[in-house]
Symmetry: C2
Subunit: 289 residues, 2 copies
């Protein structure tokens, strides 16, 4: 087995349980009694997902928010989390940020564990939500003819990474440090979207993943894609950390949330993704990690 | 805040949700759709919980097993897990061990995430089980007059840590490398035990924790404690990694599983724990991490 892809493929082959189904890379679904739970798990690593000098309060916020964002893309209402934390400098700040995000989204802390590592710190989080609509939207339901839409503006978190130059508290700064999982938007879209996911690794990469999972081709119109920095549209479309919602939907459906139509789902045509008719360079589509 | 204790106390203060309750340090309980789920989360760190030269197959087994052991102590039937894995040498072995433990306990893999760290590797796991008996046993229910009992033999994993000297495949070797969560034993005990937990950090330390949570005193009789190495009883009683079940129970109850009575619960008498009437040195009770 070589690297992450082989590992994840091997993991996937192990995922079998009568009561549970692995919905896609973002989440699993568990039927319990008359309810449907949605389960997600994401890890953050110092130096990869967060900077070494990041405020631990922002790390805690991001750790929980990235998991809640996966719940949002499933139209799930957050219930609770469990987390692992690397103890170190700024534990009080971590608690403060954790308290902020749990209160903001009314999420319970079910439990966790702490470790004390010598190397780069790492954090992990499992989030549990309750589905508000079944079937739970997945990556794989996009159909030819669907409109492809995205909420918000892409690249804002990228600008926020350099917030020192732009002033703390700006929209870009907050987009990077305190991303907001779009829980209400996800709930509103769940009954209507044929496929949905959050944009965590860059619009182009995530769009190509949705196209692959749905066995279709995505045709995007770059002029329609809302970018935070018009001087660097490519960077905005391939940067991660935005946590907007990408979804495919009947083109005649009335959108229940603010979103832009950025393209159309086509029958498979030999490329997962075309932007203005051109197949993008796979190395420049987003954040592979 | 200073260190792990302060951090955990601060975490605990954040744990509030109408549908969920933090049962104790081992697990939380979530009522869903007429069922009661039990949730646990434990992390392993290279150099702390596992050796750097450990077979990744054994690391995977232990990662899942220590979480299932927490479920066992709640009488919960395992349903599924989510995990984080540090990619590196031996990922194929990790998958092999994971496959073993999932099959052995018929547990689903719901999802996970991978990271690639430069320093010591870390792993985390959330396990989800279904309660087979409510109220779910906790650490806090031991009552004066209860018998204190423990399953199995303590110190076997300690001997297994040096299995190179004792031969691979011995009982001690397996106890260290492939600990067996006592799922069936936990289910049988759940309706009867007034308090229950697994022995993961050393019998004396864990017994003192149960006494503290129950606001009682535990009086143990060292001669009754089953140890793997009679030449080193103190080490056996304070070593971690055994994953036996420690429980308090009506002294007249018929035990449904093989277990030894090792003491009696007393009213609070100024010490959480006495062994042969003596208060043990807190520094020699077990594995604080």
């Amino acid at each position: 087995m070589s690297g992450e892809r082989g590992f994840i493929a091997a993991l996937r082959a192990l995922a079998t349980h009568p009561a549970a189904r692995q919905l896609d890379d973002d989440a699993a679904v568990l039927d319990v009694g008359g309810d449907t739970l949605v389960l997600t798990h994401d890890a953050l690593l110092e130096g990869v997902h967060v900077r070494a000098d990041e405020d631990p309060a922002d790390i805690a916020w991001k750790l929980v928010a990235v998991n809640l964002s996966d719940l949002a893309a499933k139209g799930a209402a957050p219930v609770g989390i469990l987390l692992s934390h690397s103890l170190g400098e700024g534990d009080d700040r971590f608690i403060a940020g954790l308290s902020d995000v749990l209160a903001a989204y009314r999420v319970a802390l079910f439990g966790g564990d702490t470790v004390r590592a010598a190397g780069p710190r790492s954090w992990s989080c499992t989030a549990i939500g309750r589905a508000t609509h079944t079937p739970v939207p997945s990556r794989s339901g996009a159909r030819p003819g669907d409109a492809i839409c995205v909420t918000g503006t892409l690249g804002l978190a990228m600008l926020g990474l350099k917030a020192d130059e732009r002033g703390s508290g700006s929209a870009a700064d907050l987009a990077y440090r305190r991303p907001r999982p779009l829980i209400e938007e996800g709930r509103a879209l769940a009954p209507l979207a044929s496929a949905m996911m959050d944009v965590s690794d860059g619009l182009l990469l995530d769009a190509s993943r949705m196209a692959r999972a749905s066995a279709v081709s995505f045709h995007l119109d770059s002029a329609a894609i809302p970018v935070a920095d018009p001087a660097r549209p490519g960077a905005c479309m391939s940067w991660g950390d935005d946590y907007q919602l990408l979804f495919a939907i009947d083109p005649d459906a009335a959108l229940p949330v603010a979103a832009r139509r950025i393209g159309t789902v086509a029958a498979p045509d030999g490329a997962m993704l075309r932007v203005d008719g051109v197949i993008p360079d796979p190395r420049a589509m987003g954040f592979e990690h």
